[in-house]
Symmetry: C2
Amino acid sequence: MPLQEKQLDPALLDAVDVFGGLDPSGKDEALAAAHWRKLETGERAFEQDQEADAFYVLSAGRLKVTQVTPEGQEIIIRYIGPKEMFGCVAVCGGLTYPGTATAVTDSWALGWTRATIGALAQTYPGIALNAMRTMGGRLQDTQSRLREMQTERVERRIAHGIARLVAQAGRRVEGGILIDFPVSRQDIAELTGTTLHTVSRTLSAWQERGVVELGRQKLTVRDPHALVVIAEDLPLKE
Amino acid sequence: MPLQEKQLDPALLDAVDVFGGLDPSGKDEALAAAHWRKLETGERAFEQDQEADAFYVLSAGRLKVTQVTPEGQEIIIRYIGPKEMFGCVAVCGGLTYPGTATAVTDSWALGWTRATIGALAQTYPGIALNAMRTMGGRLQDTQSRLREMQTERVERRIAHGIARLVAQAGRRVEGGILIDFPVSRQDIAELTGTTLHTVSRTLSAWQERGVVELGRQKLTVRDPHALVVIAEDLPLKE
DNA sequence: CGTGTTATTGATAGATCTCAAAGATGGTGG
DNA sequence: CCACCATCTTTGAGATCTATCAATAACACG
């Protein structure tokens, strides 16, 4: 059972931002206080409006954090990759989760109850500072997306969205960069504020031009430079 | 000179979230380390991409935090009111300010250099926790706006934007609630992701229906309930 | 009273959504 | 191994919202 092995691995928290700068004994203490959660593809770590009782760090796999509107429309707030924290609300005063976290591939996460992580943060103030740093980064990221939504046309937004996916989860393959988890056209639409129809049309046009290669829930960027040109709306060279 | 009087006021930081839970001596220490800045209407506390060297709490007045795109379009990230912190980047690892803070009415702010506030946060860990709480709230707020931008039509977004202004800076006046600082149609457009033309048309239609009363850089909500109905897209009663 | 800013309003064009239908794709069970 | 089914994707046509272009009007300030 991989659970046992993982629990014994002392280096598990090493590259995790939230625990950065923590001395080894602190890391051991944190690990000892954590519990493991396995999340099968499609399974949810927590749901929107549910009581925020735990804070997590993803160990392996990938999740998406989504919000649904009262009308039932869904949007993707962000994707979470290995070593990233999620469910931060449990740490910073919120009572309920503002979104739903769903595994998009089989995943493993380390979890701490609200009380546990609170106590840890009390003992090791660095944790709070690190968490704040991460939240600052996310706030800026969200503000950038807001700015894009307000000022850019759909095609540019899609380009920006995919560029972000590439940066976060791109894997070099022969002849391009593959997004390393299943993404549907619908997902991209929910990420960029459009419809799957428009995404499909746009991507097809790009494929025509050799910018990307498409598959079912699969996307390979063949020409990253062209993507940047679209995202930044640079003039084609005359 | 009001500066002197203000500096002596021991209750200045009392209702300020960032310093919540701090013992009186800590507050004195914080106050002693702060410097005052007066900001005339239109003056900027800091500018986008400038080195993030200070952290502020607004004492009186109101600011707007904006971002400009490479193309020169401006959007309003948020308005800051009394007792709110701004320039938080200086505290959480960022090197440059992601936006510009401009006074929309004559304002007074308390400032701390990056080093000073860092030292304070070291001594009083509660400060970091409070700052994190506030940032969590702002992150959620920004995510809500992102969701609105992605899922709602212009009229609803304007309604939501104005509802937010009312909540943040509404002042009861006879026959309605007045936004307590000058807002132009352009401002509302930059806040809701549309053009001043569309804002003007929409507000004029609302005025026709008695929902709002308009003036030059002035807006009074006559019928807050109707505004909610528009914002939530509730059906009109049949 | 001029002047610059802010706001209103009309006409038009274009991007994008909506509606609709058919075409792939991959997994599952017989 | 093949047929079937659910899901995902593509593509077309039309409707609609909203930006854009353009001009005028109202207002505040010196």
